[in-house]
Each structure stands twice: as structure tokens, then as C-alpha cells.
Point group: C2
Chain length 328, copies 2
């Protein structure tokens, strides 16, 4: 385009406030340089990255621009966070998607002052711990209580101000939990979504759901659109609603996207690096994780190689900076 960046924003009528720019360490741009982040529908690089749909799942039918930013605003001041994740797709096969995103988002919220605990099944607990270990975070992982009354007990003990789910099965209208293939996984995944559906009190926690398939906690918000997409989606679609739903091509990316939005909001370097992303997925596999799509025990997520996820992290780091430098 061959224009000085400082003229680019204003020229497009989306002027950034250069004075508000707080560049991260290592930013390649010069002083006064503004890469304005658009505010028109679909005009924000962060939303564009989250709308990348490598699995051709049609996520644009149920993704919404601005969702990650809205979730970040809701989470910014969180005091006590319970972060639910873990999806077991077949016996002994907890998947690689979810724990890395939950680890990175939890670390960011911790850095912003929240007390964070992760909630999952016994099968996925080692995965979450492995991802946290790569990040150097303490493994505050709670296994969801067996038997009835688990949600009430957990809510009473933890008193969360915010509940977050990443790639966590959500019940269907029929009360089952289905994989994207349409098979019941109810016997393999605890009803952690009770935390969200039973949650109707006056001082109830703020809820955030992050998913990529339609069958996760939070997809109740867009169930009507999922039902129209096709018969399989109509069957697997979860009814569990949240205050803020974030949809991405891969659920981990959705978690990273919320962290990128938090980085913009706070001016802090909260997102992990591409190198740490590779190490987290490898550590999850060493701890027993399988790819949820190929069902192989190898370091891929939703059948995508590590390089693809590292690339998305790299672009999200750029989006986090560009939004900050645009003075949002």
C-alpha cells in the first residue's frame, strides 16, 4: 500500500489514538505508528482470526464479531474464576482441544488478579496439569465431584464470580451429551454443565462459553442457528446458555482470542508464545491426550498440525498489539 502507517487509520475513517498506544516489547512498529483496528462488522483482525474455519464447520453461521472482546470485558475484573474444560471423545481418549486454551486463559486471569481453579474429569485432569506446568503455573485443578449435588457443592466451596467453559460438553435438549459425530459421551464426561444450568441465583456468577462445534457449554445461545445448519447439528446442539459465547475454528483458539482481547484492554502481554503452544500440546499428549478428530495419540489438535496452531498464536499476538496500538 506504501503509505506511512500513521496516516492509514485516519485515511480509512477509523483513526486510532496514537497517544494511547502501549506497544509490547518486541513490536516491530515505530513510535507514532498506528495500525488501527477496525470497528465495522468483520473489520477487526481478532474476529477475522477466530472466524478462520479450517474444518469447514460453517462456524461463520454462529460466530459473532466482537464476542471475544465482550468476553474479555466481562472477565477483566474477575475475582474468583472456575474454568471448566476437558472433552473425552471415547473411552480413555481425552482430547487435545480445550486444556491448552483453558491453561492460557486461566494464566491471564491470574495475572490480572483473579484466583483461578480448573474443573474437569479425572481423564482430563493430567492434561490440564501438563499444560499449566509448561506455562509454569500452579496446578490448581479440581476434579468434578462424582454423584449428585456436585455443582452445588463446588459453587458453595469456590464461590466463583465467573464461570468459564472451553470445549466442555453441554447437554442437548434431550438431556444427553453428544460428540460431533452424534454418539453419546454422557458416560465419559461428568455433568459439569450443571454449574451453568443450575446457576440462577440473584448473585449468580458471570458465565462465558467457548466452543467450535455446537455441542459445547454455551451453544444454547445460538441453538436456533445450529438447528438450521443441518440435521446433525440440530441433534448435537447444546441447550446450555451463557452470558458471553465465543466461537472459533478451534476451541483453543477461542480461549487464546479472549486472552488477546484482554491484552488489548489492559495493555499487558498476556498471550503465550507459539513455542509454548507447541510444548503445551506435546505435554498434553504425553499426559494421555488424543486428537479429538483423528483419535490418534499424537500432537495435533482437531487434525491440525502444531504449526497451524503456532501460526494462529502468532497472528493473535499481532491482533493483540494492533488493537492496543489502535487505542481501543
Amino acid at each position: 500500500m506504501a503509505a506511512p502507517a500513521r496516516q492509514r487509520g485516519p485515511a480509512l475513517g477509523r483513526g486510532g489514538r496514537g497517544g494511547a498506544a502501549r506497544p509490547l516489547a518486541g513490536v516491530a512498529l515505530g513510535a507514532g505508528t498506528v495500525i488501527a483496528s477496525g470497528t465495522v462488522r468483520g473489520g477487526d483482525l481478532l474476529d477475522q482470526i477466530l472466524a478462520l474455519d479450517p474444518g469447514a464447520r460453517g462456524i461463520r453461521a454462529f460466530a459473532r464479531p466482537g464476542a471475544a472482546a465482550a468476553a474479555a470485558r466481562a472477565l477483566r475484573g474477575a475475582r474468583r474464576v472456575l474454568l471448566a474444560t476437558g472433552f473425552t471423545v471415547a473411552p480413555g481418549m481425552p482430547e487435545t482441544d480445550g486444556p491448552p486454551g483453558a491453561a492460557v486463559l486461566g494464566r491471564a486471569l491470574r495475572r490480572l488478579g483473579a484466583r483461578v481453579r480448573w474443573v474437569t474429569d479425572p481423564a482430563s485432569a493430567p492434561l490440564v496439569e501438563a499444560a499449566l506446568d509448561v506455562l509454569g503455573e500452579p496446578p490448581d485443578v479440581v476434579v468434578y465431584p462424582e454423584g449428585g449435588g456436585g455443582a452445588a457443592a463446588l459453587l458453595a466451596a469456590e464461590r466463583p464470580t465467573h464461570l468459564v467453559a472451553i470445549e466442555r460438553p453441554g447437554r442437548t435438549r434431550a438431556g444427553d451429551y453428544l460428540s460431533a459425530r452424534g454418539e453419546s459421551v454422557a458416560a465419559l464426561n461428568a455433568p459439569v454443565d450443571e454449574l451453568f444450568v443450575g446457576n440462577t441465583g440473584r448473585r449468580r456468577p458471570v458465565t462465558v462459553g467457548i466452543g467450535d462445534g455446537g455441542n459445547e457449554i454455551g451453544m444454547g445461545n445460538v441453538r436456533a442457528r445450529l438447528v438450521r445448519l443441518n440435521r446433525l447439528h440440530a441433534r448435537i446442539a447444546s441447550v446450555v446458555r451463557v452470558d458471553h459465547l465465543v466461537v472459533a475454528g478451534v476451541s483453543n483458539w477461542g480461549g487464546y482470542g479472549v486472552v488477546a482481547a484482554l491484552a488489548r484492554l489492559t495493555g499487558q502481554d498476556l498471550l503465550h508464545t507459539a513455542a509454548l503452544d507447541r510444548r503445551m500440546v506435546e505435554a498434553c499428549v504425553a499426559a494421555g491426550a488424543h486428537d479429538g478428530v483423528t483419535r490418534r495419540r499424537e500432537p495435533t489438535v482437531d487434525a491440525l498440525p502444531l504449526g497451524a496452531h503456532a501460526a494462529v498464536v502468532e497472528l493473535l499476538r499481532l491482533a493483540a498489539r494492533s488493537g492496543m496500538m489502535g487505542g481501543r
Copy 2:
């Protein structure tokens, strides 16, 4: 999402032909795995990547899904290609955007059997040669002839079947050549667009234009939309039309995107790697290139660090594979 990939395509009603899959070396997916590439508007990962708009230029207003695929179909059988590139933004400042994209696209066309020559100004010739050298390609670079009649002489000598421009200034309605800042760069860039505008004969070459700003060869196709975007775009918009226009967030990415589409079409591994991308940009800077936005002599393109471009290359490699595996 937790579904086997082979069921994903059909479930979304976009079934790939698994039998047509020709995976590249290093693909992480298993036999029979299909990541279907969507055919709905905006549903193709390749188009989604090219629509990433890190500079918030509003390129979605003038980008069109399917454009890279259409350009690839037009170029697949090319016999003799002239590839114009090079944008000098200020005296002694040829920019980093353009030559890498032209080098990668030219290499791909050469591998598919075409004779390829690059056309540019004296200032950008060392950049194109440096990028080609990194790729191990012979430096068949032609400097556009000075004085009048350059286009006719070049067309007679080269007899191109296809003309391609990447990030090459195109004249405005007033006959000037303007930077995205709105300054005239007519004195710094030869009127290479004569190749395209004077090109009205019966056996005229097929023309392809790749750009990101509105002021390049090919943007005549979307001039009406550029004029509506804002006053600056209305002023800088080029009138030079092409048979196939490809718009991307960065012009190099547009060139890479056409190569990804050629890889899908032919089943060949035609795109370069992220590592080569870094080396090409660094080699261009060593040869005298400046960033067209920051105007610094440093290895960035449009103010974006090398990691961002490497990430896009990584994702485009994924898109090239996914389309092939979807059996398009």
C-alpha cells in the same frame, strides 16, 4: 468438536471425495481423512486467510471469495508469463511488498512448465533477484525499457500468454500514479501498466492483478467500490483493469494465495515455507528494500514483523492441503 474428520465433510453437506486426496509430504492427517473445503461464500479457508486485514484497510469491501482460485485456473496452463512488480514509495525506497510474492508465484508457474520473466524498475530489480536467489531460481529479471514504446517492445519480444502484476502502481483516472498516502510516485516508477492498458489485441494475454491498497494494477475492476470507501481511495484508485483481480491484506499474501490455489489444482507442493519467507524478506532488505509503511530499511512488510508473514504462509500451506484433500 470431537468427530472423526472423515464424517465432517458429509455432515456439513460439503462432502469431499476422499479418493481424490493427494496429501503432501508431512501432512498430519491420516489416510481417509478429509478436511472439506467449503464452497459457500466466505467458507473457504484460503479466502478467509486472504481476507485477513491487519492494516484495517477495509479490504473486505473490495475482496471477492474465489478470486485466488479463479486466478490459479487462469494461470495453470500459462506458457510464457511476464510478472510485473516493484513499488518505489520515495526516492531510493523500493518496498518489501511485491518482490517476494512475485518470486514465489513465478517459481510455481515455472514448475508448472511456463517460461517466466519478471519486469520491474532498476530500483526494484535487485530485490526481485535477491528473492529469487533465496528460492534458488534463475534471476530472469527484465528492467522496463525507458522512454516511449516500452510496452510494445516488451510484448513483441516476450510474446507473453499471461501478464501478472503484484503490488505494481497502476495509473489513476487523472493519469498519475499515487502512493496510498496520495503522493505522486510517477517519477519513481516506470509506466509498466502500459503492458496492461495497451493490451487490446485479438490474441491479447490473460491478465492477473494482485494488490492490497487500491492504487495497484488491477484495481480498476473494483474502482466503483474504492470510490465509495472514502475520499483518499477515490483519489488513488487505479483505473487499470485485469481479467482476474486478487485482493489480500498484504500483496505478497495475495501472490502466495494464488500459489496455494495452484497447489490445490495440481496436487503439487508449490508454496514456499515460512523459513524461506523470512529469508526472502531479509534478502530484499539487504538488497535495498524498505518497508513501504514505516519506510524503514528493516525486514518488515507493511509494518508487520516477519513472524506474521511466516504465520500466513503456514496457514496457506494448510489451506492448500485442505483443499486438495477435500478433492476440489
